[in-house]
């Protein structure tokens, strides 16, 4: 932990500046970077996950909703610092707004997977913010698609598989078994290959079927 004093007034000015950044990813990262500056002395490093991370890794607004999901612990001392920065906590304690801005923050959980990888981004302000890696976001989407059969995680998985580097693809193959998403990964790759060959996209009912099939044990008991 650092004993450096924190200049809250200066950080409030930085938050206000960050909230006006035009690009949604850069705005989100600049906001999280200011939070990092009050959280890091407590040993806490927020990591952007969810839809904003999908936006970061695809640069497409197809699924963009502008809310910012971060994985971080929120002990009382950090909650107090977020309040000093101007954030207002909602009743359920996981959601934060910044009044008179379009900033909405949610801390859905406090820990990443033990094997997670993150990308640390150096920003225009000189600050840094962390985003969950493309491979980890893809693993999350595969997990959600397998569990629910829903269209959005299915499309996001197909969306994010497109353009993976060879190295990222190999990392995905290595990490899929630990998340138990190997079969759904194969299914999503098959959908992507079929589409590339001119096939029709699966409808909602077919996506549910694909997810159900992926959940079945490979060798059913007698």
């Amino acid at each position: 932990m650092s004993d450096d004093p924190i200049d809250i007034e200066a950080l409030r000015a930085e938050i206000a500046r960050a909230a006006r950044v035009e690009n949604p990813a850069e705005r989100a990262l600049e906001i999280v970077a200011v939070i990092e500056s009050v959280a890091a002395p407590l040993g806490i490093h927020p990591v952007v996950v969810g839809g904003m991370a999908v936006y970061f890794w695809t640069a497409s607004e197809k699924f963009l909703t502008h809310d910012i999901d971060v994985v971080m612990e929120t002990p009382d001392v950090l909650t107090g610092r977020l309040r000093e920065l101007g954030f207002v906590r909602t009743v359920n304690g996981r959601h934060w707004t910044l009044p008179d801005t379009d900033i909405y923050l949610e801390a859905p959980s406090s820990h990443l997977d033990a094997n997670a990888a993150v990308m640390e981004i150096e920003l225009t302000s000189g600050r840094t913010a962390r985003v969950l890696s493309r491979v980890d976001i893809l693993l999350d989407r595969l997990d959600e698609f397998q569990a629910t059969g829903h269209e959005i995680p299915a499309q996001q998985a197909i969306f994010m598989i497109a353009g993976l580097s060879e190295e990222q693809s190999q990392a995905l193959n290595r990490r899929a078994p630990e998340r138990e998403v190997t079969k759904i990964l194969q299914a999503v790759r098959k959908i992507a290959a079929d589409l590339a060959a001119g096939g029709e996209p699966p409808d909602s009912g077919e996506l549910h079927e694909i997810a159900r099939a992926a959940l079945k044990p490979e060798y059913p008991s007698e």
Binding site: A25, E26, L29, F56, W57, T58, A59, S60, K62, F63, L64, T65, H66, D67, T90, V91, N92, R94, H95, T97, D102, Y104, E106, L112, A114, N115, A116, A117, V118, M119, E120, I121, E122, L123, T124, R130, S133, E144, T148, H150, E151, I152, A154, Q155, I158, F159, M160, I161, A162, G163, A192, L195, E200, P201
Partner: protein, 64 residues
């Protein structure tokens, strides 16, 4: 946990290619509709900033 590093300038340079590859993969899909329930306060915020209803999805009846 492993940490890699990049700059926002690098992201800006790579963004057009990332966008083109991703969007091409979904070009024949109909726009997806969120089916997972969302917290009422979050849904209200998203409506206020003009988010399409299909991305807001259903609102949870009981706040989580």
């Amino acid at each position: 946990m492993t940490i890699e590093k990049m700059t926002i300038e690098q992201w800006r340079r790579e963004a057009p290619e990332l966008r083109a590859k991703s969007e091409k993969a979904l070009e024949r899909f109909k726009p997806a509709r969120r089916q997972k329930p969302r917290h009422p306060a979050e849904a209200e915020f998203l409506r206020r900033i003009g988010t399409p209803e299909r991305l807001i999805g259903p609102t949870a009846t009981e706040p989580e």
